[in-house]
Symmetry: C3
Subunit: 208 residues, 3 copies
Amino acid sequence: MKHIPHVSLITIIEIVAILVGALSGFIEARRKRMDLVGVFTVAFITAFGGGTLRDILLDKRPLFWVQHQEYAILIFVLALIASPLIRTLRQIVSERVIVVADAVGLGLFAVAGVSQAQQANMPVFIASMMGVITGIFGGVLRDIVCNEVPMVFRDGKPYAICAFIGCWMYIVLQKTSVSDDFALWSSAMVITVLRLLTWKFDMRLGRP
Amino acid sequence: MKHIPHVSLITIIEIVAILVGALSGFIEARRKRMDLVGVFTVAFITAFGGGTLRDILLDKRPLFWVQHQEYAILIFVLALIASPLIRTLRQIVSERVIVVADAVGLGLFAVAGVSQAQQANMPVFIASMMGVITGIFGGVLRDIVCNEVPMVFRDGKPYAICAFIGCWMYIVLQKTSVSDDFALWSSAMVITVLRLLTWKFDMRLGRP
Amino acid sequence: MKHIPHVSLITIIEIVAILVGALSGFIEARRKRMDLVGVFTVAFITAFGGGTLRDILLDKRPLFWVQHQEYAILIFVLALIASPLIRTLRQIVSERVIVVADAVGLGLFAVAGVSQAQQANMPVFIASMMGVITGIFGGVLRDIVCNEVPMVFRDGKPYAICAFIGCWMYIVLQKTSVSDDFALWSSAMVITVLRLLTWKFDMRLGRP
């Protein structure tokens, strides 16, 4: 994520996106009646799995969470209080807030993924795939560890498609004369808005 | 695969092998009632998972499908029409054709895997394992993502064993005075023929 | 493991730890009614999966089992006789012996994992995570391949916690004036003893 400028705003959004990922891991791990070790690991994998897979495929090191161990420590501390945390969040935070935060995270992570793939000289289609992988594979790995068929592969909701469209928008915008900052932020925002619209209207794709 | 000579013939065989891998992913993903995202991802993982795992273990980059994004695009286009595609294939292509194409792919991928492991200076037993991994782990990862115990680990058919035997044949032939071309092609062909014979006679291994 | 001194003793312990990992893979693979290919692969993944994942995350090569192909060959030979092997072991080795050997392996692998992470300049919390990953992810990957929710994430036993405590003891001891040898061996021993005590008294953690 470090390649998106304006560090202070980005840092806040980044933390929110990671927390939303971790929260989704907490919920799934608890649904599977996991213990502390499982709750922490699943939350960690959900929050960082997509970016880690991308970096392994690109052979990029150090990994994001290695450079920022404070995020791992944060998830560790939250895992210790996962149960009251989730209960409290349910009372003060509506599902709508979580969906919005998740959509913001999806946009940022996906566009950051494309950006890093392009810096590693990936061809464009592969770069767009790396963006989508960054955005969705945290949840995919969460579901594999929890012994489920990954939700994003079977619920018919265009979650990954929204990321894919925004990744291509970023790739196209870069070929134009707009600034890289504008390309990044507008593409991330398009992903977020598309995701929220498809959620709002409960859109589904047919099966191919 | 690029280390096997005679590019034009190899390119055709390579495309066929990748398509057969993708097809097996399409079928399994649809059996699990996955959506477009799942169908594409599972097909992609089945086609490229074995070689990707080998390259990660060997720390070899760029990955095959990164250098040849046309294959990823091809699978993407096919995923869009997976349903009519599978229906049409069922009418014009017999199971026999698919088994033959898969056996050809197994031979080529396995021998190419050994070859690349040897270029990376792996010891011989590890090189033979890398060959088998290249040949079978696409299907293994497909089954893990589809939440099944991998078929190749439990059906008792000597699929991986055929690859293992051919990998060792290649390793031994290299120590002799035969040309590397001959070693590659004859070993790949032995794997293909062994696989077809064991399929024809429905051979099973006992459980150890 | 090669960074722990006193090669001859370490080699013996290392072999025992690997064999115990492989044995646990044999048992789980047979419980899933896998064939020879599955039994070998699951045993191999259980024995080497944790260290391999750590090395991929650290981008460290060559992998341990690549440098020591004799261990892969040993597991291969044992897989061929897994059934009589397990039957014989059940007669001559009590469960207690296996738990002790596994606890010794957990201690050694975890502390070796921290040590290697520190040599790769990981920050301390990440280094402690790498130690735990080295100790437990063989079993996690075994369970994923066998299509189970990983045992270590749901049984509530403080297996990973014992490793985590010992990893931190090693990190703290290194900051003091004690020798690195002493830090390594005493931390590994603390993990082993903690694991055996929690097993003896059947301790469980509550769910978070």
